[in-house]
Subunit: 314 residues, 2 copies
């Protein structure tokens, strides 16, 4: 299903299309953490998020026959932009279902690719219904943002690439939402070395993975409330067993902690990270994670509405 071999194959498949993102380090952040911390800048990935990895792998894994009918996804976030980009690159139709209240920058990003956008009411039911309609009308393939092994394998390539550059990472921290990146990262890292510790970080206001991990049972997320707009999805059924098997701990952070961490990353690393990408550093600087050696953090995305920064509002 999902193993290091599949992630390595994904790495080769997407190499012509995605960026080998830079890894940054910072003296002050090292001092705060008490260990060398390496930041893998997926916020500098094409489309501004790691999502390009999963989308390109899934879309370039399709047979020509399937691909011809196009792909569909429902998302208001970075996955929508990534699917639209990858479909454009493969020169196949993309149908993107978005809620009417989608953030303008995310809409603009999808618009630029020329994908067909279908608006719907901002409920999960309406989104799924709209996607199902497109599938039955056009025969398009659904590219689910995380319940899809090709997507999960694609997301795992970030950690594989990270460990090629910094082979002695003892610990990797990743945000968790639907679990695509988390399951891919854990599979890649533990496949390379069983000793690497994996910590998932989740907002307090969307703590379904934390709860599912404690209860060893998939607990759906109800009414997420967090500034981390990329972390409002519910852990998926395909990632869940991998998370149970390979993730060492799940840690929670508050929105205030997220904003503080985000601001510090902007100031110290001088790269733009979105709130969802700052949860890991938040956990670290708040002393919620015990480190045992060189630590890797995947900065997941940098898509922020610059007119609505948390510290600039009146």
């Amino acid at each position: 299903m999902l193993d290091l071999t599949r992630i390595r194959e994904a790495q080769k498949r997407i190499a012509p299309f995605v960026r080998k993102t830079p890894v940054l380090q910072n003296k002050r952040l090292n001092e705060i953490a008490g260990q060398p911390v390496f930041f893998k800048c997926e916020n500098l990935q094409i489309g501004g998020a790691f999502k390009a990895r999963g989308a390109f792998n899934a879309i370039f894994s399709l047979s020509d026959r399937d691909a011809r009918h196009g792909v569909v996804t429902h998302s208001s976030g970075n996955h929508a932009g990534a699917v639209a980009l990858a479909a454009k690159e493969r020169e196949i139709p993309a149908f993107i279902v978005m809620p009417e209240n989608v953030a303008p920058p995310k809409l603009a990003q999808v618009r630029q690719t020329g994908a067909a956008i279908k608006f719907c009411e901002p409920t999960m039911e309406a989104r799924q219904a709209a996607a199902t309609e497109i599938i039955s009308e056009n025969g398009a393939t659904l590219i689910h943002p995380y319940n899809n092994y090709d997507v999960m394998a694609g997301q795992g390539t970030a950690a594989a690439e990270f460990l090629e550059e910094i082979p002695d990472l003892a610990h990797v921290l990743v945000p968790v939402s639907g679990g695509g990146l988390l399951s891919g990262t854990a599979t890649a890292a533990k496949g390379i070395s069983k000793l690497i510790r994996i910590t998932a970080v989740e907002p307090e206001g969307a703590a379904d993975t934390w709860e599912s991990f404690q209860k060893q049972k998939l607990m759906p997320l109800k009414d997420p409330q967090t500034i981390a707009d990329g972390l409002r999805a519910s852990l998926g059924e395909l990632p869940f067993p991998i998370v149970l098997e390979k993730v060492d701990e799940v840690v929670l952070v508050s929105d205030t902690e997220i904003v503080g961490a985000m601001r510090q990353l902007w100031e110290e690393l001088r790269v733009i990270v979105e709130p969802s990408a700052a949860v890991t550093w938040a956990a670290l600087r708040e002393g919620k994670v015990e480190l045992s050696g060189p630590t890797g953090i995947i900065l997941t995305g940098g898509n922020v509405d610059l007119d609505r920064l948390p510290w600039c509002s009146r």
Copy 2:
């Protein structure tokens, strides 16, 4: 005085201390420019600016006997932080003269290094007088921000490194203030290939290099008025003849154009650049520069007060 050999020596000297900064590319920015554009991210350099290159080269070029007495500089900007950092690394005293109205983030950066800070009135005379006093009292060596061949050679290492990574650059764009980076860049680039075109970009409100270049005579800058706080210095006597000989053109941009370009770089590249670092992209996207092939832009710095972003003020 200043040639490619000296820049190569500087490259070796500073290699243990400075970062090999990443080069970014962006499809949309390429489309706007009509040529592939490569961005050398000196905003991700240690201290958040290319200034570390010149400061480390100058300070590590000092004899042990001179170094022992420490170094002094007067600056309210990125050079101050760079000198403080380099002196700390060499374990020698640093004396930094700063105007009383220095921006809090720049002050904090110098404070962190443990350098001795001397405040003075915010005039060039007061700054120079304070520095002279420190030199006569302590025997410290002045590290001038641009009228210094070791500093100029250090700044030139950014272009040398850039051309190692992207050897086919036909054109390089650099901001100009005192001329340290510009003279270093022009010397490195033309030393590697005479065919590389060099464009300097300057704010309209601090157009002394533009005027000096037209009149072929060094015209001092009076009362600079620009949002680009790193570009308010007057072109130096040592860089000037090199600029006349090696720079192909000087182009002006307005503050409005600078802010628009800065915002677009944040959005598209997802890195933080300060206004001074955005002048080159401003010139390019406003169609003020004719390109003839792959183009390199040195993003000079990313030190911005996040509480006072141009688009977030009321």
